[in-house]
Point group: C2
Chain length 350, copies 2
Amino acid sequence: MPQMTLRDIAYALGLSVSTVSKALRDSYEISKDTKERVIAYARTNHYLPNRMAKSLKEGKSGSIGVVVCSIDNSFVSRMLDGIDGVCAQAGYDIVIMQSKESLVQEKSCLKQLEARGVEGILISPSAETIGFEHLLALRETGMPIVLFDRISERFESDQVGIDNYHAAFQATEHLLANRYRRIAMLNIGLDIPFARLRSAGYLDALKKKHLTYGKQLIRPCWPDTGETLKDRVRASIQSLFELAEPPDALFTATDQLSTLSLSVLHEMGHRIPEDIALIGFSNTELADVLTPPLSTIYQPALEIGRLAAEKLIGLISGRGLSEEYETVILPAQLHIRDSSRPGVKVQVNG
Amino acid sequence: MPQMTLRDIAYALGLSVSTVSKALRDSYEISKDTKERVIAYARTNHYLPNRMAKSLKEGKSGSIGVVVCSIDNSFVSRMLDGIDGVCAQAGYDIVIMQSKESLVQEKSCLKQLEARGVEGILISPSAETIGFEHLLALRETGMPIVLFDRISERFESDQVGIDNYHAAFQATEHLLANRYRRIAMLNIGLDIPFARLRSAGYLDALKKKHLTYGKQLIRPCWPDTGETLKDRVRASIQSLFELAEPPDALFTATDQLSTLSLSVLHEMGHRIPEDIALIGFSNTELADVLTPPLSTIYQPALEIGRLAAEKLIGLISGRGLSEEYETVILPAQLHIRDSSRPGVKVQVNG
DNA sequence: CTGTTAGCGCTTTCAA
DNA sequence: TTGAAAGCGCTAACAG
């Protein structure tokens, strides 16, 4: 039998559908005896309530939508793990969709999730997402929304993320403390809120040291069509080395840029940190066993996911009625390793 | 307005619900004029059909369940990416659940997915899954199922995976060709079908060279409660080095074991491959920039995901009516790098 | 304590 | 060409 229904049970036991329904939900209205008979029958016959029907009836689907740029990213998947843990615990299941860094795609994901009847949405906006009108509109319909990872001051909302500005500032200061003076930065599109903050932290750290090259050494890495991100990274690094005064250190603003840069620098035969130091945002567990061990800015991915999910479930449950939105900022951790240790060249000038 | 329904449109336009429904589905029964009015109204008012209702009515949910051991695993997440690509294309969305390598958990996931009304299931069974009765029972109810990644000859079913036996055989032969003779193996539980095949490939390669230590150098790594997998790897490697004749090479049977072994060997101060060579199943893009570059057996994760999803969608669509189950075996690729290059010790004996 | 009834939003005969 | 009505499986108000 494909799917047993309440009706089947009712028929088999000579009861009505509603009695069976109530018995299964342990209603006080039903006699102990009947309950037992119903439950026994349901068990032995592997009755499974149809959630589609229940969802339709109750107007809630028991699922939560999650939109990320790409599931195929260790940082993202760790956040998803955190999200899933909390949601599973609370009895929600999650529907994950990928924006692949496209705003159009992101909107389409949101539409689908809405249509599917998710009770709330967790989103890490795409790189193309500058404005938040679509999210505002969605929230207007009563959909609870929590931004995670890629948070933004331009969108009044509940958010969970890290202090991008400060993390970038610290990383840059660390390079400066190790006497690097021509620090280049690889970033993704500069319009993206979190990327902008990382640039700002970098720039302010330079400014504090009265270094005046400003944005000249920033390279936004956004692949053109038909080009991989790695191609773009290669081209960017190439262009930096062709400068009259090439950089002596590189600060990479995302997970992917960090490891790609490491690969590309290897390919090009540059020694790290002798020729160029490297530090970047990264969450790989492999940082210690890379060549050289990679200095990283580590973000607490699991924790971000957990907190975001908890916040969302709170909103769904009607708690967090306080009209005020809350932004949770977790600290990022600087993990200093060999790729940014004080370089040899420094001694020459010292 | 929270959710506009057909009724709202019908009321606004002075039509009946069924007319609106048909108009929206471009039925031949409806006049061009009416269709246009309805569609225009629906567009401007952002009508979204309620998929829960549609699902209930049609008895199909438009979603596919995916069960994996853990989403937080780069190999898994790449397969998921492949799956999602195909499913999204075909208009299905995916509900991902994690078994966390527990059979109980796996069963619970399957129950939930079934209740949720998924139209098919893609599963990479947990490490504890020795028998397949629960999957058989589920399939009896008419649920299409495709096994991916962790395939098994013990379960007659559609499957997509790699040739584990052959891959392990090749990797071991490679070590032998580079003159390593005491080759140890780290594996997960030996009952797991794919792990068993990997062991078998390893053992047969040894046998072919008339190496007689057989299973003595195999270490199953399954964390006890309160212990991390890394702890277990550390203990296993420790025990290998404490042997009268310690190994000169190590073959690791899973992604996690490979990178953990690399870390642990680093920690313990062993040089690779001078003290011990290393090759393992791994899908990290970082293999080239590890210390040393890690020889790996690479599995085409994205492709596995894609093919499995395509197969499943085929089954759902009623194609693949052929009573015969199909097992697709993709080749794994041996990527030889420094961690398994011919060692120094060899010269001494040579 | 149990059953009848109405409907959640949609699709789909069958009539008009 | 349009509409009325039934029903997917479940819940809940209301009767009995």
